[in-house]
């Protein structure tokens, strides 16, 4: 068996589908002011934070769940969810990794996340979020030397309230749409990153999200601030155990880039997609938005979406600063009964702003995939340009691939170009590869990897390898 086959053998079933038997503290089921107060209280939050949550909750009560999206899902009973779940051993946060519950460490080892110091060679600083709380952050010392703050959101609220107060909710206001507002009210934890002026972050920062408990929604909140002239590359990975019920994941991610700063945000999303009959799986309804606030700033989103029963997200860039740049690279793969409605929004406000969208969608089995995107060039955004390319690949005639781009150009100095194609893998390409000794599955793998190459290239090294494997695995069994 060569390594590829072994990988596939290992991963044929969802490799991350195990659960960790760990004692949890949960908030009472349901959504009301008391639960919000409970969350705020257990996290020892200051009053302004509680007010922020309650204000969002007031607003939430007035909002209606949106229903314009393509993948429909059975109604979620928001009163039948736990909004807070934390490993019991985390009640008093451990001071160092040695104090961590060994079971947790074991879990992360299984997932291949280097929490322990011996994994230092990997050189990636990791913040691990288990269910609702951040369990460990590595490489603190090294980062502190540069003045970089990389910690859990709860810690940031305690230790850096000024920064949090200044930026939280400025990109995704707590009065935004249904899920974003829900998140603002009940978010539990997440990562907080602040890169001071002029600092290039010496290593990749990474967060690993894990949903463990059942009937839990995960509502994490991430805030990344890149001060003037700084640079950071941030990775995000996600897994969840296999369960029959659908679980909700509604995160908010806010990025803020000041003058000359650059943020690169990469996601490999591999939440449990449900079984081959479409039972179970995660509803991944995430709001991600970046604000290029300063001049010459840049935000780049890269995503590889292979998991989740339903993916519904549009990582967006608001290009406010002059000469700012927004980029979006995406591979979305759906198989079996998975559904995805994903894309991006590029909102050009400043002069000379540029954006680029490369989206590759692959659908197989009975799945359904939609690219939905908005390019909006404001009348003040002189001399801006956008280039969009979205390609879809279909495997089989039971699946669907859709493209819904919205293009609004209000500035005559600006150029907007959009291209999209939908096709299947041509018989000729397959024949060519097979003639040279590849079996049909390998041939498809090769062609698909070629199809996705433009996006895979954008991923940091460590992720690119993983993503490439994921692409192959997700399509397993869809050929023939």
């Amino acid at each position: 068996m060569d390594t590829r086959e072994k990988d596939i053998e290992n991963l044929k079933d969802y490799k991350y589908g195990f659960t960790t038997d760990i004692e949890n503290i949960k908030a009472p089921k349901g959504l009301n002011e008391n639960v919000i107060k409970f969350i705020s209280n257990i996290k020892k939050e200051p009053k302004w934070m509680l007010d922020f949550r309650l204000k969002a909750f007031e607003r939430f009560k007035l909002l209606k769940e949106p229903d314009w999206q393509k993948p429909k899902y059975p109604k979620i009973d928001y009163q039948d969810l736990y909004y807070y779940s934390a490993p019991k051993s985390m009640k008093d946060k451990p001071k160092s990794l040695d104090e961590l519950d060994p079971k947790l460490l074991e879990t992360y080892n299984k997932l291949g996340i280097p929490l322990q110091e011996q994994a230092r060679l990997n050189g990636i600083a990791v913040d691990a979020v288990f269910d609702s709380v951040s369990v460990a952050t590595t490489f603190k010392g090294e980062l502190t030397k540069h003045g970089i703050i990389f910690c859990s959101m709860s810690e940031a609220i305690q230790k850096h309230p000024d920064l949090v107060k200044k930026y939280l909710g400025t990109v995704i206001p707590s009065t935004d749409h249904f899920f974003a507002t829900l998140n603002s009210a009940v978010f539990t934890d997440g990562s907080f990153v602040y890169i001071p002026e002029g600092v290039k972050c010496p290593m990749e920062l990474s967060t690993y999200f894990r949903i463990n408990a059942s009937e839990t929604g995960q509502f994490e909140r991430t805030l990344i601030i890149a001060d003037k002239g700084s640079y950071v590359s941030y990775l995000e990975g996600c897994t969840a155990p296999m369960r029959d019920e659908n679980q909700l994941h509604a995160a908010n991610v806010e990025l803020i880039a000041l003058d000359d700063a650059e943020i690169k945000y990469s996601t490999v999303q591999n939440w449990y997609p449900g079984d081959e009959n479409g039972k179970g799986g995660i509803y991944n309804f995430v709001t991600k938005r970046g604000l290029c606030k300063g001049k010459n700033s840049k935000i780049s989103w890269t995503q590889v979406e292979t998991g989740s029963a339903i993916t519904w997200k549009y990582p967006s860039c608001i290009l406010k600063g002059d000469n700012s740049i927004g980029e979006f690279y995406s591979i979305a793969i759906t198989n079996n009964y998975q559904k995805a409605d994903t894309g991006t929004k590029m909102i050009h406000l400043g002069k000379n702003t540029k954006s680029k969208i490369i989206s590759k969608g692959i659908s197989a089995g009975f799945s359904d995939m939609t690219y939905r995107g908005l390019v909006d060039i404001n009348s003040k955004a002189k001399n801006s340009s956008n280039y969009t390319q979205c390609d879809s690949l279909l495997m089989g005639n039971k699946c669907g691939a859709h493209t819904v781009p919205y293009i609004k150009n209000k500035n005559f100095d600006s150029n907007v170009a959009h291209e999209a194609t939908t096709s299947k893998i041509s018989e000729e390409q397959l024949h060519y590869c097979q003639q040279r000794g590849l079996n049909p599955e390998e041939a498809v793998g090769l062609i698909v990897n070629g199809f996705c190459k433009e996006v895979l290239q954008q991923l940091p090294m460590e992720f690119a390898v993983e993503a490439q494997k994921l692409v192959g695995i997700s399509l397993e069994g869809s050929v023939g």
Partner: protein
């Protein structure tokens, strides 16, 4: 507005001789319209240009009753001289003349139809309004294997007698096997602040060919909405061309159902807008069976305070393998106040298909202007030449040579 609608509806029923059954049907559509009102931006199809708002801004005193007993003089000077043609003339929404003098009368039937209402669900409240309020309704039947010798021009004329009115028109066309029709809709207005709502339904049998050219050129302050529903059987071809320029607001909606194998649909359009005009083309091509083809090309040239929108949707059913679908929309923005919106949409459920779309918008290419100016043209000439070249591309797609020439002359691309 609701009260006005009810009063005018009763007035229309009084003067026309509809059967009780028709009145009942019309009433149900009226109630549906009253319930939903004019479409607004909350509806996806009306996102870019909100007709509810446009009507209430432009025609706050809109009324719905038209007196067709008033005699109107036909001004023959507006007829197109360069082309021998059959005529249907509408003045202020009332039919004045049907003239098929060039054709074999046995091969064409004109039926004053009672309501063959399309039972399919529609969510378009303007169609509801049309069915509720439209007056006489004709069906033109072209018999098997007959091709009209000359094109048919439908003149949509209005005069100063009409103001703040809503006109609802409906025509049905039945093209039997292997027949063909060339149809030009020609708009000419001497009125202002009216809202026209036109609904055509075409049924194309096997091997039938329909060519429909819509020309809205003369400048006017009316609002127009036109909906073409085209059902196509095996091997039939439909070609639609829209020249959208004259009215203050014009939305053309074209809905093609490709129900027979090897049927094809072509839609080409030009927006040439200036001075506060807002126009839209929305297309839906439903590829429902194997081996069907569609092609769309839409180009816009946008001047001061103008807005154009193109919403194109290609739907490919899971049965419709070997579909070939193509959409391209391009726009040149000439002024800082012009705006272009596009939503080219693909919805695909079959894997052996070739579908693509493209959209590009921007200003005139500086390099091209420079090239032309360095060869002795002034800026205005250079700009004109580039715009003409840009639009000529679409005109060249017209398959009928005579009509192509006519259009080139109208637009000023050819002397």
């Amino acid at each position: 507005m609701k009260e006005q609608l009810k009063i005018d509806f009763n007035k229309i029923q009084e003067v026309s001789n509809f059967s009780n059954k028709d009145i009942e049907i019309k009433k149900s559509y009226l109630n549906k319209f009253i319930e939903n009102g004019f479409p607004n931006r909350k509806q996806e199809n009306w996102k870019f240009l909100d007709i509810n708002q446009i009507i209430s801004n432009n025609i706050p005193d809109l009324s719905f009753y038209n007196d067709y007993s008033i005699e109107n003089k036909i001004d023959s000077s507006i007829f197109i001289d360069d082309l021998e043609h059959n005529k249907i003339i509408f003045i202020n929404g009332g039919i004045e003349k049907i003239d098929f003098s060039y054709e074999d009368k046995k091969q064409i039937e004109i039926i004053e139809d009672s309501y063959t209402i399309d039972k399919s669900e529609n969510n378009n409240s303007l169609i509801d309004l049309n069915i509720a309020l439209s007056n006489k309704h004709f069906k033109i039947l072209i018999k098997k294997s007959y091709s009209l010798k000359k094109p048919l021009i439908i003149y949509h004329l209005t005069n100063e007698k009409m103001k703040s009115k809503n006109i609802n028109l409906r025509l049905d066309f039945e093209l039997e096997q292997n027949s063909s029709l060339k149809l030009i809709d020609f708009f000419s207005d001497d009125s202002e602040k009216n809202f026209m709502n036109i609904f055509y339904n075409f049924n194309l049998d096997r091997d039938a060919i329909l060519k429909n050219y819509k020309i809205d050129r003369s400048l006017n302050k009316n609002l127009k909405y036109s909906f073409n529903n085209i059902n196509q059987k095996q091997n039939s071809i439909s070609e639609t061309f829209v020249f959208s320029a004259g009215s203050d607001y014009f939305k053309n909606e074209i809905n093609c159902n490709l129900k027979g194998e090897y049927s094809s649909a072509f839609i080409n359009g030009i927006f040439s807008l200036d001075d506060n005009k807002q126009h839209e083309i929305r297309t839906t091509i439903n590829h429902l069976v194997e081996n069907t083809k569609s092609y769309q090309l839409i180009k816009s040239v946008l001047g001061k305070n103008t807005k154009s929108a193109y919403q194109g949707r290609i739907y490919v059913d899971s049965k419709a393998q070997k579909t070939d679908g193509y959409q391209l929309s391009k726009a040149i923005l000439l002024d800082e106040t012009s705006e272009f919106n596009a939503k080219p949409e693909l919805e695909i459920y079959a894997d052996d298909v070739k579908c693509s779309h493209g959209s590009a918008s921007g200003s005139l290419d500086d390099n091209s202007i420079f090239y032309l100016m360095s060869r002795g043209l002034n800026y205005k000439q250079a700009k004109g030449l580039l715009i003409n070249g840009f639009l000529l591309d679409v005109i060249e797609k017209i398959t009928d040579a005579e009509i192509k020439d006519l259009l080139k002359k109208m637009i000023g691309l050819k002397k």
